[in-house]
Symmetry: C2
Subunit: 664 residues, 2 copies
């Protein structure tokens, strides 16, 4: 606010501040999916004791007409209103407020006691009603005119007072309110509206190279096609493929990340680019572009959306290296700088130089890559290491893509520092990898997921939980046996509306690490073809299928915000709930994969919608068992060998003698 000597007196007296949701003073949009509600709150007030009116305005971005929703006071000058977002894309909202003369007049009128004061007030009021009639049209105009005439004809001040306080008149006047000196909130805020899968999805990561057909020694899209029924039967809806592009030969890594590859070694799919092409090309061994198209369609038919891997880095054999040497950093000897994090060196990878003088062309080319796969029907992208590329690049790339294709979903594979992960989510990623992979104890899980589900960051940061990835076989899975796998996938599937596993390694409980103390898989698929026997009797396939069916049947598991942790008097056990409407689920987990654990849970029944004095049923959707409970405290015992987790649906109404005809 600049002091002025010759003032332009501001007559807008209402103040609008502390608007929520609002990320970084409106620099970034909040996120919703189609059909969701945006609940907007703000501190709104005016000097003196005038009555304030406050409107929430909203519209699809790019349109010009605001829809208005009256805000209602919550007390302490906090106001609230909400709207639903109906379509994909960007939606805008802002606020207007003003000291409302008619509302103030009405408020005062109700308190006036002396006849003379009421009479004068009625004179003032009828003038306002006449003015409103002039602003209105048709029916409303006539109705307002009638109100004015009738008020002028009242037999007594008291009768006039009663008549003027009529709610119908108040509503009419609100509809044709004279908006004196409106304060417009200084920012127009935005919501990015995304497809439902942004909020609720189950991912399955699969290496096509291991999808062997017959006795082939390298998998193909045809092999992936054969796996579709298997994957769909487990109830996943996103099938994520690591990079499918030609793989570099120079400095190619051998099995188990050995420096020297043999002629047969297929190399890491993340070493992208070879004589056969780059990011818009397909590794010939996997199939043709036509085969890929067939796969995309075939997957969709099976209820699966293919997610592509976007890894913006190059092998030394990538066509960019010769065609655009200016997109790489050079060493004093003229050679191109390979990726390194001293003393580690990754000579099979050349990072792109985003500080290049030719970065405009680089940005456009990378967008062309995404556009290419969009044109091939891809809408979901899992972005590899986005935290090693500049944030402004992602803001531009994702913004540009989603401007034309608002149904596109970008998942940030950024296992990095918290501020960096949050910034990526702010600049546009629909979903984010999380630290879930390493959160095992009650304290860790409670603290981390309370933060994710309750903190303001939930407006833009949507977690996607992975118990394993091709890079990470967490210690808990190495040493916890079958119960550890069951626990971790059940936690992922219930703590997160979005989750994923890297299979078949997961359901087949692959648990041997390459090095003691390390998290790399032994014989990792990153560097070699693996043959998986998905028909093994001990596979977790059915367990996972049951989890995904429960997720589909229970809206409570389809979003993250309702998560609440509850007391359980055993440090090895975790109890939490999720709610959607009348769908109330209580999860109880035994975090100890080796021993039976038991404890008393303590539920806030009123919050969970359970009448405090009635018995209720807790129906374990995993085992089918039904427990009859009453009151806040209940006893739970879990044997990890059988099932480390309950997913209990609370069913509030139980049959009783009152259901017999005699009672009706």
């Amino acid at each position: 606010m600049t002091p002025l000597d010759a003032p332009k007196a501001v007559r807008s007296r209402a103040v609008i501040e502390r608007v929520s949701p609002e990320i970084d003073a409106g620099l970034f949009p909040v996120k919703r999916i189609v059909g969701e509600e945006v609940v907007v709150e703000a501190d709104v007030f005016v000097d003196g004791h005038d009555q304030v009116r406050c409107l929430l305005l909203h519209r699809p971005a790019g349109t010009t007409t605001w829809a208005e929703v009256p805000m209602v006071p919550l007390g302490n000058d906090r106001w609230q209103a909400s709207f639903h977002v109906a379509a994909l894309g960007r939606h805008q909202y802002t606020l207007h407020a003003w000291a409302d003369r008619f509302l103030t007049w009405r408020h005062d009128l109700g308190r006036r006691k002396e006849a003379i004061d009421i009479l004068i007030a009625l004179q003032i009021g009828t003038a306002m009603i006449d003015d409103a009639a002039d602003r209105a049209a048709d029916d409303d105009r006539n109705r307002l005119k009638n109100w004015g005439d009738e008020l002028r004809a009242v037999p007594s001040p008291e009768a006039g007072q009663a008549m003027a306080l009529d709610e119908t008149l108040a509503a009419l006047m609100a509809a044709h309110s004279e908006r004196h000196f409106v304060t417009e909130y200084e920012r127009v805020l935005e919501v990015v509206v995304e497809p439902e899968r942004s909020r609720f999805s189950a991912w399955y990561e699969l290496f096509p190279r291991s999808c062997l057909v017959g006795d082939a020694d390298h998998g193909s899209f045809a092999g992936v096609m054969e796996q579709l029924p298997y994957i769909a039967s487990m109830g996943f809806d996103v099938l994520y493929l690591p990079p499918i592009h030609p793989i570099g030969r120079t400095f190619r890594k051998g099995a188990n990340n050995r420096l020297a590859a043999s002629a047969d070694d297929p190399g890491s799919p993340w070493a992208i680019g070879a004589a056969e092409g780059g990011h818009c090309d397909i590794l010939p061994a996997l199939g043709s572009q036509e085969d890929f198209r067939r796969l995309v369609v075939g997957a969709r038919t099976a209820g699966l959306e293919i997610a592509m891997d976007i890894a913006f880095q190059c092998s030394p054999d990538h066509p960019y290296v010769t065609e655009h040497p200016e997109w790489f950093r050079h060493r004093p000897d003229g050679s191109i700088q390979y990726a390194e994090n001293p003393p580690k060196k990754y000579q099979d990878i050349y990072p792109l130089d985003f500080e290049s003088d030719d970065s405009n062309a680089l940005w456009l080319e990378l967008k062309r890559v995404v556009d290419f796969w969009i044109d091939e029907g891809i809408r979901i992208f899992r972005v590899d290491n986005p935290h090693t590329k500049p944030f402004p690049f992602w803001a531009w790339l994702i913004g540009s893509i989603k401007a034309r294709h608002p149904d596109a979903i970008f998942l940030a594979e950024a296992f990095t520092r918290p501020k960096v992960m949050h910034r990526l989510a702010k600049v546009g990623f629909s979903q984010s990898y999380t630290y879930f992979t390493w959160r095992n104890t009650k304290q860790e899980l409670t603290a981390y997921f309370t933060e994710l589900a309750r903190h303001d960051s939930r407006e833009y940061f949507r977690p996607n939980l992975w118990p394993n990835t091709p890079d990470i076989l967490p210690e808990f899975l190495q040493y916890g046996g079958r119960p550890a796998f069951m626990l971790r996938v059940a936690l992922a599937a219930t703590l997160g509306a979005n989750y994923g596993i890297y299979g078949p390694a997961f359901e087949l409980m692959e648990h041997e690490a390459r090095d003691p103390g390390g998290e790399e898989y032994l014989d990792s698929e990153k560097y070699q073809v693996r043959q998986w026997d998905t028909n093994r009797r001990d596979s977790l396939r059915d367990y996972i299928a049951r989890l995904n069916r429960i997720r589909r049947e229970n809206p409570a598991l389809q979003s993250d915000w309702s998560l609440q942790f509850h007391a359980i008097d055993n440090p090895m056990m975790l109890c939490f709930s999720k709610i959607a409407g009348d769908n109330t689920l209580i999860m109880v987990a035994n975090l100890d994969p080796h021993n039976v654990q038991a404890g008393w849970i303590d539920l806030p029944l009123a919050e969970l919608g359970v009448p405090g004095n009635s018995p209720y049923q807790a129906h374990d959707l995993l085992s089918g068992a039904r427990f009859l409970w009453q009151g806040a405290r209940s006893y739970v015992s879990l044997d990890p060998a059988a099932s480390p987790m309950h997913i209990l649906r609370l069913r509030r109404r139980l049959r009783s003698e009152r259901d017999f005809d005699y009672f009706l």
Copy 2:
């Protein structure tokens, strides 16, 4: 962030976010006094693993050259630096950050192991050093050239590595850093730097009408002059006078707010304006403009600054009413609308209409009033009911005045809703009345003052604590007797660096209310002249003088931010501390004015700078008593009849046998 199809690739990769202090996205400045520190923090990071450099920039507003302070990392991508504000007025700050190539190079070099990698790195590094030499001048240029030459001549990679990691070189390179693609924080933030009295002041409110000289029946400035030694002897430094202007006659209120005044009734000084003049004129009975000037000078000589009352409202007899009828609201019969809050009416007061079509002229005229008194030497203004005038008006008025007179102080007398009080502080008021007046219990005081001293709002909201005002004789004082008065003024003087009392009513323990259950004084000075016997034996004069002396001698009581509450196992007792450097004070209060209360306090000795195992002295600055304590827990007993409060200065060092020569 707008998506662009033809990108202007942003190469500034560093991110600066969550800057503190920052009020409402920089809409309002933070406040400091001359010489104070501004500690600035921000989240700063860059993609990848490059090293980031971050600078805090600051300058007096209106100047063009930024001073730079390097920020240091606190962990988790949080950075910090600080500066001191040296002069009154506005001071600006912002941040710059970038991915620093030399720092990154140096960080990597330290981790390199292979000779060939080190050699290549040294080639790259010397080129950067040569570039820096080209940017530098004089000595630095030569020193950098030498570094380059010496590095080129090293006998071995290991020697070069060691030499290149030298801290001197790092400092030189930092001084001549190549600032590639700097990210400039999107806002320039401001600090309003105010005089010390904004942070630390003791106010005494006095009605000149009761400062009688000889056997006059109406007080005068001459009478106030006679009171100056008395007020100064109590240690106050601001003498605040209710309005001194001509008082309206129409609808003048009589004693005890009676509707009909007799000819002798002087009326309320807040009913401003009469035939004798308005806001720039003086009630003739009080003296002339010349008398007032003498008072301002006399007060200053006694160490007292006069604070004027700014009450922007008019009596029906104010010259504005006839000269500028357009500044008032009119009723249908053409009469001017008096103040009202139905069913209450204040017919002796006409509020100004800030929605007037002539509001530009109104704003200018009101500023002229303040300028007038500024020209008369006044720098402190206590603003009456600022919450009944628009916020943009105050932002403009205070901003304009302080642009020319940065030593001006405005106190907001706004006993209203919290959001409104905060907004007034944000738009420019230096100090604010608080709810202290009605906070009596341990729980109330702890919650409220923790909020005031710890919440972000402390950056702009400076509390000024009043145990009484001419309008408010709180119940606690009506029924608590002498101990209640002692307690409340001692709490005000220690919980608040700024506080004030309305006297002599306070020190003479005036405690009769006009109506049972009400808070108005019986025979209030607002409506009549009072004769006070300030020499009464039971006056609290000496007690208050002691409090103010303690405040002056103890820096801990001169600011609010260090306030901390401590455990005491008696709900009728309160324990809190304030610290400044090695000045540590522990206040213990008995909140019960009727009974002796005792309890065990529990102090965090490490935080208070007391070595845990040593005995220490707690010296009660009020009573002079000294207690020898050891350990965190100590017993305190307070008899309200003697003194309801300890102000204990902790003295850490005690003499012991080690002080004898034999030990030296």
